[in-house]
């Protein structure tokens, strides 16, 4: 199946949380005990059992008719093109980038090392100490490979969520930001398979838990692209040079009189 994308048009989100419920239902995720914190956001955060969440923020409005602007944002895995979590994962098969663009975790192979949690620029994967594994949105990989849209998209009441082939979604997004004078996120060149349309009256910074400048962590680039190959080059290189040294110079022997024999000529 070709590369697909999801578009989250925040100008259309009403915060109904149908996506949240549909996600729980389709993926068979347990309900959680929650707590009222003075916000409509519920549950308070993503978790091992909550893979998508509508975040609620209140922003001071410049509209004279109302004091507060509601910002609702459906949060979940962004399914990065160059996914840092997949690169960081030590266990093959535990986190996989699929041809459809989804980044899928497989609990069967997850060893619970938390490297992906650390690597993620969006703080998405959630670790369960009980299960010793991580979990996150899979873009409903089991649905999209059957030609269906993800459960959240299916359930969306306002058309805020759209899913389709990459080119179609990008074209839709570009047309839409002209139509409503909005902007795209991410807008720093970082590529993901989930993109947002952010309304003009809100800035990216106004949304809580949304990294305004997502990128592969530079620390990961360093260890992955530099120290990882260097370790092999270093160990292999030194071992090779030692072998060469042995072949050329031979062992540095000491006889019982305390005289040195640099080679075996004597």
């Amino acid at each position: 199946m070709a590369e697909h994308m999801m578009l989250i048009d925040l100008t259309k989100c009403t915060g109904c949380r149908a996506c949240q419920v549909a996600c729980k239902e389709w993926n068979g995720l347990r309900a959680e005990k929650t707590k009222f914190n003075g916000s409509y956001q519920n549950p308070p955060d993503l978790s091992y059992d909550t893979w998508t969440l509508v975040r609620f923020d209140e922003m001071k409005s410049e509209n004279s008719l109302k004091k507060v602007e509601w910002l609702m944002r459906k949060e979940g895995c962004m399914h990065c093109v160059d996914a840092p979590c997949v690169q960081a994962c030590p266990s093959p098969g535990a986190l996989v980038k699929t041809p459809e663009g989804a980044v899928v975790h497989n609990p069967k192979y997850c060893i619970g090392c938390k490297a992906c949690v650390v690597a993620c620029p969006f703080d998405i994967p959630r670790y369960s100490p009980q299960e010793e594994k991580i979990a996150k949105c899979t873009l409903c990989y089991d649905r999209i490979t059957e030609g269906k849209v993800p459960a959240c998209v299916e359930a969306c009441t306002t058309g805020c969520l759209e899913f389709g082939p990459k080119e179609d979604i990008i074209a839709r997004a570009k047309a839409r930001i002209k139509e409503v004078d909005a902007s795209l996120y991410p807008n720093n060149g970082y590529e993901t398979h989930v993109i947002y349309i952010v309304p003009k009256y809100a800035k990216v910074e106004e949304y809580s838990h949304l990294n305004p400048d997502p990128k592969v962590p530079s620390t990961e680039l360093w260890w992955k692209n530099l120290f990882k190959p260097l370790t092999l080059i270093g160990m292999g290189g030194v071992a090779g040079l030692a072998a060469l040294h042995y072949l050329i110079k031979g062992p540095h022997r000491v006889d019982d009189k305390g005289t040195e024999g640099g080679d075996d000529n004597g």
Binding site: P90, K114, T219, W223, F227, L232, M235, P251, V254, D256
Partner: protein, 222 residues
Amino acid sequence: MTREPKGVMIMASKEDMVRITDAQERITHWILAGSFLIALITGLGLMYHHWSIIPTIFGGYYASKWIHIFSGVMFGLSLVMAIPMWWKECLFVEGDGKWIMKAGGYLWDAEDIPPAGKFNAGQKIFYWFVVVFGVILVVTGLIMANALSFPVVVARWAFMLHAMSVFVLASFLMVHIYLGTIGNPGTIQAMLHGWVTRAWASVHCPRWLEEKVDNTSSSSNS
């Protein structure tokens, strides 16, 4: 005594042997070495996906994770034993700089090499590398194993510094293994049973032989 062929380690009589390490040093050395090697091998298995043979040998990726963490903790504990045990003998003294410039004659022929003590300047450098990068490995490893208890920027730095320290230590380890084994026959005995020939010591540790063995009563060298 019959003259053995040159280079063959003859089992000399006790008078010809001196003891250069005590049991505590040897045990510490091998716990340090063993735990590091196990952590290194499992770590390489977790880092290089092509080497899935390593996790297979160690019982899978999940088992490898725990063996890696456990051997890392063992390495940390043995470091705690090793650091106070050798630091005094590994302080640099006059002549060590010159020794380094000539690599002590271990890598190429050199004349006029300052006499080494129990540890030569190269071994001292290795010791301090093990201290510095070993501590970094253990500290960053503990941070990685408990990554979610730290700010994410700290955890990210831990991953990078862990990999960097492995590169440095594992490469240096190859030098250490070569020079301690086939490169210098007879040397490994210092870490097996501690007894080395007087001849070996007069070449590899002349200053130690002179100051610590010959200057003390001859019966106290065991």
